[in-house]
């Protein structure tokens, strides 16, 4: 059964996943081309200085990339399910409704995780080549909320898309957007050190939020 679920989700998402991951890797590559360029033109020590003491965010072009990927993956995965209320087909399958939703969600989460992991490790790996641990650590702390935002966007878009009533869909969207701002406060490198763990917990907590709108659907709120 799990294989079938994965098969369907893969049919829906494969091209987007591949292309978006590729775009993500391009974004990472682009950052390090710029870093390379800056080091060549500014001297490495002056460039380090800019990062350490002048708040130079060499990674800032990465800010909305994971968000964009999470958002799009959620859309391509869940919009086909609500067209013609196809989600009914899912609920008719001989499997517990929550279980299959969690499988779909799990698929999305794991593929997103894989996509982000590629980007993240490419980024950290390249960072480690030219930058010291202190900078890399502060940078990881800064980009962590952006990747978390990607997951949060994925979970919340699933919630919004699966809600069948437009009025509520808009209300969820507004509430979700206000919440998403938490991940994008501007701050100095390392500024998210204290809140990252809390954001991780919140992101995990909202992972099951689509079961709310799915339940509403099953109880006739359409």
């Amino acid at each position: 059964m799990f294989k079938s679920v994965v098969y369907k989700e893969w049919i829906k998402t494969k091209w987007f996943l591949i292309i978006l991951t590729f775009i993500g890797l391009l974004a990472v590559g682009n950052i390090f081309l710029k870093v390379q360029h800056n080091i060549a033109f500014n001297d490495a020590n002056k460039y380090w200085y800019l990062i350490l003491f002048q708040n130079h965010h060499y990674f800032k072009s990465l800010k909305f990339v994971p968000l964009f990927i999470g958002l799009l993956i959620a859309l391509v995965q869940y919009v086909p399910e609500i067209m013609d209320k196809r989600i009914k087909l899912t609920f008719h399958l001989p499997i517990n409704e929550n279980k299959i939703l969690m499988m779909m969600l799990g698929y999305g989460f794991i593929t997103l995780l894989a996509s982000y992991a590629l980007m993240f490790f490419a980024f950290v790996g390249l960072s480690n080549q030219v930058l010291p641990t202190e900078i890399v650590q502060a940078t990881i702390s800064s980009i962590t909320p952006w990747f978390l935002a990607g997951f949060a966007a994925y979970f919340l878009v699933a919630l919004v898309v699966l809600e069948a009533i437009w009025k509520y869909r808009i209300a969820y969207f507004v509430a979700a957007s206000a919440f998403m701002l938490f991940y994008f406060e501007s701050s100095i490198p390392g500024g998210y050190n204290l809140i990252n763990l809390k954001l991780i917990l919140l992101t995990i907590a909202i992972s099951i939020s689509l079961s709310f709108s799915a339940y509403r659907f099953r109880k006739g709120e359409m």
């Binding site: 509430a175 500024g191 907590a205 099951i208």
Partner: protein
């Protein structure tokens, strides 16, 4: 699971609205609160106060005399020295001392401390300048140091450790009894300063060291710190008079200076300063220091003489934001305000600020009644929504919005 997911969503919505709604509210209704500018006049031996009210400046002293702008500036000749020179009214002598612009400039200092400088992530990696390079300008070194289980220099061009240099510094530090790793490293990591005095470093057992590099060799001096005295913040300064290396804030919120060469720690007579919440400014001139500690609704100004003795003191407070019209109205709406950033910290975090008093309980009650009718209208049973009522009772408008966005429908 659907119940849990609903409460999680309600919780998220409460968080989001308790950030967004107050933010929008203040954007719409906040009025600027003017804070006085106060400086000690070495001429009058009194504090000169400039207030900005109703788009006009009012300049007085503590006795109530009012001054024009020119008069005010003339009372503070050492602060407005450039203006007085341009106007040609700089006095030749002050307090019997002949005025020399070079001397005035050399004695001038200004320092500003903000809580967010102290409550901030540390870079962990610092440039150690050559203090006696024989060059007019300081140059950015090729490497940066960290003090972990030893003092390590990392060369930026290759991103590798300079072993020889690291060993040399580590050895000297070990010989001086340095206990690795460093707990605090304070310096001025910029080439834009008059000269380099290296770093003041606190080690793992609260010993204080002065570390610099002189002609490529380590210079390490241990600073004698009285027993039990520990510091939460050290700010190195680069003032022309070369009297001290740094301002230090001790764990018991006293402000010290560390003198140059003798490494003497002198406590400044500043009482009641709360570094976690207040801003501190220290202005020095030929005769005095003006020390201003400022909180959200009050400030305290202390005048010191050049031997750091208190000569005068002045306090003033003004209307708190929460006591303004908009603030009072807000206290009827929001039980709490949530912020992700805080003036007193460089960290992003959840900063809850509880509204003083319980005015908001009225609205909470009204919203509970409103919610009762909403539930009745949708044909649900109020008894099955007790948790929602409790949420509204506690979180008021935020909870009311949250439970109605993520409606409790059909849950049996």
């Amino acid at each position: 699971m659907k119940k849990i997911s609903r409460y999680i969503l309600v919780f998220i919505a409460i968080l989001a609205t308790s950030v967004a709604l107050p933010k929008l509210y203040w954007l719409a209704f906040e009025k600027p609160i003017s804070r006085p500018f106060i400086m000690y006049s070495s001429l009058e031996h009194d504090f000169m106060i400039q207030r900005h009210e109703n788009k006009q400046f009012h300049r007085t002293d503590t006795k109530g005399n009012t001054y024009t702008r020119d008069e005010f500036e003339q009372k503070l000749p050492l602060f407005y020295v450039r203006q007085l020179l341009i106007s040609g009214i700089m006095p030749d002598t002050i307090n019997g001392r002949a005025m020399d612009t070079h001397e005035i400039g050399k004695a001038r200092s200004s320092y500003r401390f903000k809580s967010s400088y102290m409550i901030a992530p540390t870079p962990g990696l610092y440039p150690l300048f050559e203090s006696e390079s024989g060059r007019a300008n300081l140059e950015m070194p090729e490497d940066f140091f960290r003090i972990t289980d030893r003092m390590e220099f990392v060369r930026a061009s290759e991103n590798i450790i300079s072993e020889k240099k690291s060993q040399m510094f580590t050895t000297v530090l070990n010989n001086r009894g340095f206990d690795f790793p460093a707990a605090m490293i304070a310096g001025i990591p910029t080439t834009r300063k008059s000269c380099d005095e290296g770093y003041i470093v606190v080690d793992n057992s609260n010993q204080m060291f002065h570390i610099k590099m002189v002609e490529a060799e380590p210079y390490v001096a241990k600073v004698e710190v009285p027993d039990g005295l520990t510091f939460k913040f050290i700010a190195c300064v680069d003032f022309s008079d070369k009297k001290y290396y740094s301002y230090l804030i001790s764990s018991d919120n006293e402000v010290y200076i560390l003198t140059q060469d003798e490494y003497e720690l002198i406590k400044l007579p500043i009482e009641g300063f709360i570094p976690e919440k207040e801003e501190l400014r220290i202005y020095g001139n030929l005769f005095n220091y003006t020390v201003i500690s400022r909180g959200t609704s009050s400030l305290k100004v202390i005048a010191l003489d050049k031997e750091y003795n208190k000569v005068d003191e002045y306090t003033e407070s003004w209307t708190k934001l929460s006591d303004t019209k908009a603030g009072k109205a807000a206290s009827f709406i929001f039980p709490v305000e949530l912020n992700l950033s805080n003036l007193n910290s460089s960290f992003i975090d959840f900063y809850f600020e509880r509204t003083k008093g319980f005015n908001w309980l009225i609205l909470n009650l009204l919203l509970m009644i409103a919610h009762f009718f909403i539930i009745r209208k949708t044909g649900l049973k109020p008894t099955k929504n007790l948790i929602d009522f409790a949420v509204i009772a506690v979180t008021g408008i935020f909870g009311f919005l949250a439970v109605n966005i993520f409606q409790n429908k059909f849950f049996d």
